[in-house]
């Protein structure tokens, strides 16, 4: 992908942030949301777009390690922050969270999956021995229409630290 071409924007102010561990600086129209910049300008389309009101979680990214809806985040709000998208998480190899989704059938159409992975990543960053309830609560902002959460429950079982899950 030729990123340089896409960084040229006519208006707005320059902003700098760290995207997937690399510093980035670009002109941003103040009316643009983070999801617009990611998908349209940087072609990072692993971040999906679906409800655009922060309800479905398909556009989830990590901002300073916390899961945020990039449809509810204005691009300029990311000045100086660390933003990590699904592409960043997948850069080197498949994360254990992604591995679990693959092995447990935690997705079908896959459109919600990057957001699911991000939310779970954020949760596990903060909570190293989560209960099943903690894990489920971490995914309440992510909707899946295909799986009925069957496979996603099986994914969560693998990250659950409490006794209930080690039966």
């Amino acid at each position: 992908m030729n990123r340089k071409e896409n960084l040229v924007m006519e208006k707005g102010s320059r902003m700098s942030f760290v995207l997937n561990n690399k510093p980035i600086s670009l002109h941003v129209d103040p009316s643009k949301r983070l999801v617009d910049i990611l998908r349209n300008n940087l072609q990072l389309t692993g971040t999906k777009i679906s409800c655009e009101i922060g309800r479905c979680g398909a556009c989830m990214v990590l901002i300073d390690g916390k899961a945020q809806n990039s449809c509810l985040t204005m691009a300029f709000q990311c000045e100086g922050k660390h933003v990590e998208t699904i592409e960043g998480i997948s850069e080197n190899n498949v994360d254990p969270i992604q591995e679990a989704f693959l092995e447990e059938g935690g997705f079908q159409c896959g459109y919600c999956t990057p957001g699911m992975v991000i939310s779970l990543k954020a949760l596990l960053n903060e909570n190293t021995d989560p209960s099943m309830d903690d894990l489920k609560e971490g995914l309440t902002g992510n909707l899946c229409r295909c799986t009925g959460y069957g496979g996603i429950h099986r994914v969560l079982q693998r990250f659950c630290a409490t006794e209930e899950c080690n039966k």
Partner: protein, 758 residues
């Protein structure tokens, strides 16, 4: 077999499309970009019903950055689409019939500019009275919505004698059941990219049937079908909702007008307004039994709100009519159904296809009758259940199936019934258990073209290549094909190439709907394999001298058959070496038809799948909230090919049905949607579902059955609602007849509240 990772053993496979999906690297069609790409937008109606006096696009055309503004005047061919009846205008010219009607489309260099230009299109309307329910549409003086009247389709079915048989009944239950306007809620909203290239139109847009989109577009654009190429997979969910055209006519017309690529991607709000929904139905059933609990008479009235246009409203009503008898033997039956036009949103194809609504009603009847008789509701079903060789619900011959009895029996062993009932519950929580069952037809049914086909070849790169005109919308088609092919050829995954979703590369295979795809690819491969192997082995024999009968396919190439266990097979030739000798004579294709009943009953099905469901609920007496805490499914659908896919279909279909039962309703008032996004249209979250569902797959088929694995895309979604409703009754004594179950309504009916208010 209880279906899970352990029981599936080596058939539990990571999906071929999995890594791309979990890493976000898979490009959905709405993720694509092209150089100089424009944004396409559609102007929707301001009214649910109005005459159009004038449309003035001149101001919109003057906006800098606007490349095209199109209206009905710019359609070269047919101004209409619809799978079974093309009565939905691409652009309205004289009248708008619902809130989602399109009047114009704009292509502009940015979404902001397109949006601004949309607001500058001036439309003069003269409002007309809104017909917002089928009842109003059927009134004598109702405004006429379509030239032939307000009834899209009627069905009738008679067997025996109604009046006489009701006189003989000991108990009769008559009830009207209502079901919601359920939204598919695919996470990827409708969209696509349209490119005009070297005199051809490239359409990158999700659909469940690429060739059918090509046909419909060719009609609208007045272009030969061959000049249109439909690239239609991968898809971010469909569930029936993307089978009909959506963005395609607009994107295609815009790119042809501008000569530049055009991208369309509906916002969720536009998807709600313009997208299809499940038909809301009012189903009245009057059902009678004798003192022994034998069903004697069953009278059914179905009123279906098909919305502003046809799409598949007729076939959905046919399906509902057929499924309102279910797996039961009833000597006297009278069914009358009406699908009626209104100014509401368009209803169309949706997983279950009209079965879900009537099965909710029918199973409700069985439970109520059992209560009147004072017998166990499951026992009542047993007394009336069809046997292996009984005819189908409308008297048509069907492929012998013992599925109904098998699922009836199997669910009784469900662990739902053996839980520790001593579990401590707060006094305001009441638990209940409910059961239900259904039989569900697959394929399109008698009288409807239902072609299938596929292609198998050794390709130039030395891969065993299959091509099917089916689509991958998440169900796991690619994984199923990989498993089938590896079973057939004992080869490596790397030896395979699977091609779907591109009309330039695949043969017509019919639609990926009606739980038909697994069955059709299974049948196609069975037909293709023998001639393919014969041709390959013949070639290898010519080249190597090894006799044909001593050859077999295997990893990487053709191997000798080992006659004794201690003599290893030897690699004779690799697929790549074989391909170098030419591949033209190693291509085989097949065309056939989905199996159909010989009896001329329009839409009547031949292949049936059966299911039974047990659900456990907790009703909160303080809030009226219902929580489903356990769900068990048994499914009799023949052999399981792809366990992960099968389990996923049942689990996913089931939770879609949970939403249908408890929370989902696209509410319309005066022809307008009130639930505009996912903050008010509530699909289940992970907190709303049981942490585990059990799926028991009954794989045995009657001896001599040649039809193989039946599809399970729909059957998981058809029978949960009545099980939940039965469980609520078990917990509270209250019978629900309208879905979704409203806590505020339920709580008013709770006995202790009524006592207090009295």
């Amino acid at each position: 077999m209880l279906l899970d990772k352990n029981s599936a053993k080596d058939k539990w496979r990571i999906r071929p499309d999995g890594k791309e999906k979990v890493t976000g690297s898979l490009q959905y069609l709405t993720d694509m970009t092209f150089p100089n790409m424009l944004v396409g937008r559609v102007l929707r109606s301001e009214y649910a019903h109005a005459e159009i006096k004038s449309i003035n696009i001149s101001k919109a055309l003057q906006v800098d950055g606007v490349k095209a503004v199109l209206t009905h005047k710019d359609i070269p061919g047919l101004n209409g689409f619809g799978i079974s009846n093309p009565d939905q205008p691409v652009f309205c010219s004289e009248k708008v019939q619902y809130e989602g009607d399109a009047l114009a489309a704009i292509a502009a260099v940015s979404d902001e500019i397109a949006e601004r230009a949309l607001k500058l299109i001036e439309v003069e309307y003269e409002s007309l009275p809104i017909v917002d329910s089928p009842e109003k549409a059927l009134e004598k003086n109702a405004p006429l919505l379509h030239p032939k009247g307000n009834i899209l389709h009627e069905t009738t079915y008679f067997l025996g004698n109604m009046e006489e048989s009701f006189e003989k009944c000991t108990h009769i239950v008559e009830e009207t059941y209502e079901t919601p306007r359920q939204m598919h809620t695919y996470l990827e909203t409708e969209g696509g990219i349209f490119v005009s290239e070297n005199g051809r139109l490239m359409v990158y847009a999700p659909t469940q049937h690429g060739y059918k989109d090509r046909m419909q577009l060719s009609r609208i654009l007045a272009l030969p079908e061959e000049s249109i190429r439909i690239i239609s997979s991968p898809i971010g969910g469909s569930f029936g909702g993307k089978d009909e055209l959506n963005v395609q006519p607009y994107g295609a017309l815009l790119t042809l007008a501008c000569g530049l690529p055009v991208k369309m991607h509906y916002s969720r709000w536009e998807s709600v307004v313009a997208g299809l929904k499940r038909h809301p139905m009012k189903v009245t059933m009057k059902t009678g039994v004798d003192r022994d609990g034998k069903l004697l008479a069953h009278q059914v009235r179905i009123l279906s709100d098909t919305g502003a246009y046809s799409t598949l409203g007729g076939p959905v009503l046919n399906f509902a009519t057929e499924h309102s008898v279910g797996p039961y033997i009833i000597p006297n039956v009278e069914i009358k159904g009406k699908a009626v036009y209104t100014n509401n949103g368009v209803s169309g194809e949706f997983r279950g296809f009209g079965g879900n609504q009537v099965i909710f009603a029918l199973e409700g009847q069985m439970d109520r009758l059992a209560e009147k008789l004072g017998i166990n509701p499951w026992e009542l079903r047993r007394r009336n259940l069809r046997g292996m060789y009984d005819r189908g619900p409308l008297g048509q011959r069907v492929v012998p199936t013992n599925g109904a009895l098998e699922v009836w029996d199997a669910i009784r062993k469900s662990s739902v019934f053996y839980k520790n009932k001593e579990e401590h519950q707060p006094p305001w929580i009441r638990k209940g258990i409910g059961l239900s069952m259904a039989m569900h037809g697959s394929g399109l049914g008698y009288g409807i073209p239902d072609p299938a086909g596929g292609q198998l070849r050794l390709n130039e790169n030395g891969k065993i290549e299959v091509a099917f005109g089916h689509e991958e919308f998440g169900q796991g088609l690619i994984g199923t094909l990989e498993i089938l092919l590896q079973d057939h050829f004992q080869c490596e995954k790397d030896d395979l190439e699977i091609i779907i979703g591109d009309t330039d590369k695949v043969p017509p295979s019919g639609s990926s709907t009606a739980s038909r795809t697994t069955n059709m690819v299974w049948q196609a491969l069975n037909r293709l394999k023998p001639p393919f192997l014969q041709a390959i082995f013949k070639r290898v024999t010519q080249m190597t001298g090894v006799a044909e009968k001593n050859l077999q396919t295997g990893p990487g190439g053709i191997w000798t058959k080992s006659e004794k266990e201690d003599i290893p097979s030897l690699l004779v030739i690799t697929y790549k070496q074989l391909a170098k000798q030419g591949v033209d004579d190693l291509l085989f294709s097949t065309q056939f038809h989905y199996p159909v009943t010989p009896d001329p009953i329009i839409g009547g099905h031949y292949l049936y799948t059966c299911t039974s469901v047990a659900a456990e609920v907790e009703v909160n007496l303080l809030t009226g909230m219902v929580k489903v805490t356990d769900i068990h499914h048994t499914v009799a659908a023949g052999p399981v090919i792809n366990p992960m896919g099968y389990l996923g279909q049942i689990e996913g279909g089931s939770i879609m049905a949970l939403g249908f039962t408890l929370t989902e309703d696209a509410v319309m008032e005066n022809g307008r949607y009130l639930t505009k996004n996912l903050d008010t249209y509530l699909i289940p979250t992970i907190m709303d579902v049981p942490s585990e569902q059990t799926v028991d797959a009954i794989e045995e088929l009657p001896e001599g059955d040649e039809f193989g694995p039946r599809g399970v895309g729909e059957v998981g979604s058809v029978a949960l609602a009545p099980a939940i409703v039965s469980a609520i009754h078990d917990a509270t004594g209250i019978w629900i007849k309208k879905l979704p179950v409203k806590p505020e309504k339920l709580i008013r009916e709770l006995p202790f509240l009524q006592e207090r208010e009295a």
